[in-house]
Every structure is written in C-alpha cells, then in structure tokens.
C-alpha cells in the first residue's frame, strides 16, 4: 500500500522519531510504514489520519 506519510511529515517538519512519539510506536514502525514495507492496522491508520487531520483514504492508496 502506498502512502503520503513521508511528505506530510516533512511538511510539518517532523522527524520519524517525532511522529513515532505522537503515535506511541517505535521509529522502526514509522520507517516501515513510510516505505510501504508494513501496512498499519485500521486503528493505527485512524491514529495517523487523526494526527494529520486528514481522511485515511487521503493518506493511504492501494498499489
């Protein structure tokens, strides 16, 4: 699954560690999600969307 997390994070000037702290996950998790190597669960996807104040479908797209 593709996503725009890296771009959205960069727009806000956040590091992976900053986002990881906001989501209460490890930096490795954020890195794997950004690189499309790990698809987050629905609750985590909702948390990501909530942090960016966007809808899930505006952040994640099917390959």
């Amino acid at each position: 699954m593709k996503n725009r997390i890296r771009v959205l994070r960069a727009e806000r000037g956040w590091t992976q560690a900053d986002l990881a702290k906001l989501l209460d996950v490890s930096r490795n998790s954020v890195n794997a999600i950004e690189n499309g190597k790990y698809d987050p669960s629905l609750p985590l996807a909702f948390s990501i969307a909530g942090i960016f104040k966007m809808r899930i479908e505006d952040i994640f797209q099917k390959d």
Partner: protein
Amino acid sequence: MTRLSARSWRIIAALGFWVLIIVAWTVGGSTGLAIAYTAGAWLAAFSLQAWRRQDEFEKSAQKFSWMFGGLFGLLISLALLPAATQPGVISPLIGWVADALQAQDPVTPAFVLGAAYIALGQLVGFSVCWVGWHVSKR
C-alpha cells in the same frame, strides 16, 4: 510502572528469571523446585507486560517469528536428531545434566536434555526469523 517500555519489561523479566533460576539451582531440592516454578511465573508475568507495551509492528514480527521460526526450528531440530543422538555427542551432555541435577536415574537427564534441545531449536528458529523479518522491513 505500566509506563515502562517493552524493553524495560523484557530486561526485568529476563534478569529476574535468571537470578531465580541460579538461586533455585544453588538451593536445590524441593525448595529449589519451588523457586524454579516461581521463576517461570515471573518470566510469564513480566513477559506479558512486555508484550502489552510493544507496538503492533513488533507484535507482528514476534507472531511471524514464533509461527514460522518456531515451526522450522522444531522441524530442523527433529531432522538433526540422528546426528545429535550420536554417542559421542549425547553421552557427555547427559552426564553433565545428570551431575547438575544430581539425578539418580538415567531417564530424568535424558528427558530434560530432550526438552532443552527442542526449546533451543525453536529459539534459534525464532531468532533467525525475527532478524530476517526486521531486515526485510527496513
């Protein structure tokens, strides 16, 4: 206390477990056995805390690794059983375990060694899969 990280809970679980096991080994007898069971309970309780504090990424890694690493570790250890049970390999180990347990019969050390062999195979399989999973997700 629940705010401790998963790593902290793992360290508490492992340190306490091994301290209690060493104490149990030193004390021996029925008291030692009771302490060994306490060590098992300690490990289970604090490992559960560690599991609860992990994020879903790490939980996925561990589920995958126990499923496939544990399974293949078990199968490989069974496949290697003919080599592991060669007299030159198994006899010194059984002797060492029998001495350590102060066992009077030959069955107890053989059983303990068999259980440890399977557990070791699964642990190695888990570790290989866990590292592979994390490398593949970088």
